[in-house]
């Protein structure tokens, strides 16, 4: 029999699609999030991001607590970037109150936030080293990161949760001894950061695993609302420190780091360069710290009722633009509405398109370059479309090449 049909298009349908659930609970996962990765062989064909595992209702909680208690709630939205959260919320209140802290307080705020940027960028670079199998580098970076944690402890009184921000200023001042100790820690840290940056620039394994993985074009960045080092790694210059010039960012010199490669490597290199910039900013602050009065406001004299109105504050957190919207009805000591938009909310949920076409092994690298962290999969579910059946594989079976 002769077939007269002409083939105009060939559609390749994968016979077996593997669903690889990454998360929501995973030893190397920063945030409880589920990435459902669908793979055709080794190639990722689709990714779904499932959320809701850690929704604590913080916005509602803020409505049920006073403006002042909310400063401490905001600081607990995230451990790694707690001072930027508190700073953003406090500035939103200051906009409503028309209060401006003195210069010393503004400089100290920037010092706390930039110390936080240093340790946050160090930890994600360390995790990236671990993800690509370079565990020694992970250990080394984490060891050096302790210097920043110590510096933050000297400044705020705590290594992690600083609770440093207050309306009209900060909650602790520093004396000459503390200034010298923080400076000493940072001066010792600087050559280590330069060394790690060089490792990321030159190490063959890191380059092979990161370069051209998870490419993002500038148009993808803006259309999907991606922010922070993810945007800057694709050449999109978004940095609210430079545009909004809040606190002392209008006086402290710094460069906005951008790169044009748009891959995972570029995003990590942006972070290393920003770490060095942050370190230089901290040293500048410690040298030029103004002495125009007490940076610690008298909390008992601060107004309890915030005037009626709305404000919207932006801060450049380590992971990108973080925003707080605060609305006060002017009648009570409770906010009418608080809306928090974290950078990961955009960067992680809106970036599912980025993984398509990657190999499975590159998924953790691409995800980590966005600054959560997921290492490897624990198990997979195999969906056989021909037989319409599902079965699960353990990691051992997978390692044995059963797929």
């Amino acid at each position: 029999m002769v077939c007269n049909m002409t083939v105009t298009k060939v559609v390749e349908i994968p016979l077996v699609t593997t669903e690889v659930p990454i998360g929501p609970q995973h030893p190397a996962l920063h945030e409880p999030l589920l990435l459902k990765v669908y793979a055709d062989g080794e190639e990722v064909v689709k990714v779904e991001v499932n959320t809701g595992y850690n929704h604590r209702g913080v916005e509602k909680l803020c409505e049920k607590n006073t403006f002042y208690r909310d400063i401490f709630i905001a600081g607990r939205v995230c451990g790694i970037c707690n001072t930027v959260h508190a700073n953003c919320y406090v500035r939103a209140l200051e906009y409503l109150l028309d209060i401006k802290p003195n210069n010393r307080a503004r400089y100290l705020r920037v010092l706390a936030m930039e110390l936080e940027r240093i340790h946050s960028h160090m930890i994600i670079n360390a995790i990236m080293a671990e993800i690509v199998g370079f565990e020694t580098l992970f250990m080394q970076i984490m060891l050096d990161r302790e210097r920043v944690m110590k510096a933050k402890e000297i400044l705020t009184g705590n290594r992690v949760l600083g609770d440093y921000m207050m309306i009209g200023g900060v909650r602790r001042d520093i004396d000459e001894v503390k200034r010298a100790r923080i400076r000493d820690l940072l001066v010792k840290l600087k050559p280590r950061i330069e060394f790690y940056k060089k490792v990321f620039e030159e190490d063959e394994t890191i380059i092979k695993r990161l370069v051209e993985v998870g490419l993002l074009k500038p148009v993808d960045v803006t259309s999907h609302s991606l922010v922070g080092p993810v945007a800057r790694g694709s050449g999109v210059r978004i940095d609210s420190r430079a545009s909004d010039k809040y606190d002392a960012y209008d006086e402290i010199p710094f460069n906005v780091i951008t790169r044009t490669e748009g891959d995972s490597w570029a995003r990590m290199m942006v972070r290393w360069d920003e770490t060095l910039e942050a370190l230089n900013m901290c040293l500048y602050i410690l040298e030029k710290l103004p002495a125009d009065g007490n940076p610690v406001p008298d909390e008992k004299r601060l107004p309890r009722v915030i005037p009626q109105g709305e404000s919207y504050a932006r801060v450049e957190a380590q992971r990108g633009e973080l925003t707080y919207y605060v609305m006060s009805d002017g009648k009570s000591t409770y906010p009418y509405r608080v809306k928090i938009r974290t950078p990961s909310f955009n960067n992680i949920i809106n970036s599912a398109f980025m993984y398509v076409g990657l190999s499975l092994a590159d998924v953790p690298v691409a995800l980590t370059s966005l600054d959560p962290c997921i290492s490897c999969m624990e198990r997979v579910i195999v969906i056989d479309l021909e037989k319409n059946t599902k079965y699960k594989l353990t990691l051992k079976e997978l390692a044995g090449g059963r797929v």
Partner: protein, 147 residues
């Protein structure tokens, strides 16, 4: 080609301010989608991004206020597109097919406040809210939700 701000002014029925100096363009709900379509056609995707969507329940007025915080690039100026929806039937056309960056904001606002974004196929309860609350039909950020 009009400037970006002119485009927003064209659709605005009123202009307001959110501190500090964020211009608010209040527009009708049916004009939100045409506004962003014009913005993309005239200035391209790289001229802005939608930073966040803020929904606020205003039971006294019988409305839900919906704010799109837009960052204009490269000047990085934040402006607000504000619209009001009927609280009993809060429906607005989706932007997700023309601006994929609103995916998270629309899903969240739907889950927490019950706004229905017409044409968004990804809307679901349980995006953030735990399923036991979602199954009862409760929208936690509504003032009368009892949460």
């Amino acid at each position: 080609m009009s400037s970006k701000r002119d485009l927003f002014s064209k659709y605005a029925v009123k202009v307001d301010l959110v501190k500090p100096k964020r211009t608010v363009f209040i527009i009708r709900p049916e004009n939100v989608r045409p506004l962003f379509k014009d913005l993309i056609e005239q200035h391209g995707y790289e001229s802005f991004y939608i930073s966040t969507i803020v929904g606020t329940d205003l039971p006294g007025e019988g409305k839900i206020r919906l704010d799109y915080y837009v960052v204009l690039l490269p000047e990085e100026e934040t402006i607000v597109v504000r619209t009001y929806l009927d609280r009993n039937n809060p429906v607005i056309d989706t932007l997700v097919d023309i601006v994929p960056g609103v995916f998270n904001g629309e899903c969240e606002t739907h889950d927490l406040l019950g706004i229905f974004f017409r044409g968004n196929p990804y809307l679901k309860r349980g995006f953030f809210v735990s399923l036991d609350i979602a199954e009862k039909g409760i929208y936690p950020l509504r003032k009368d939700s009892g949460v």
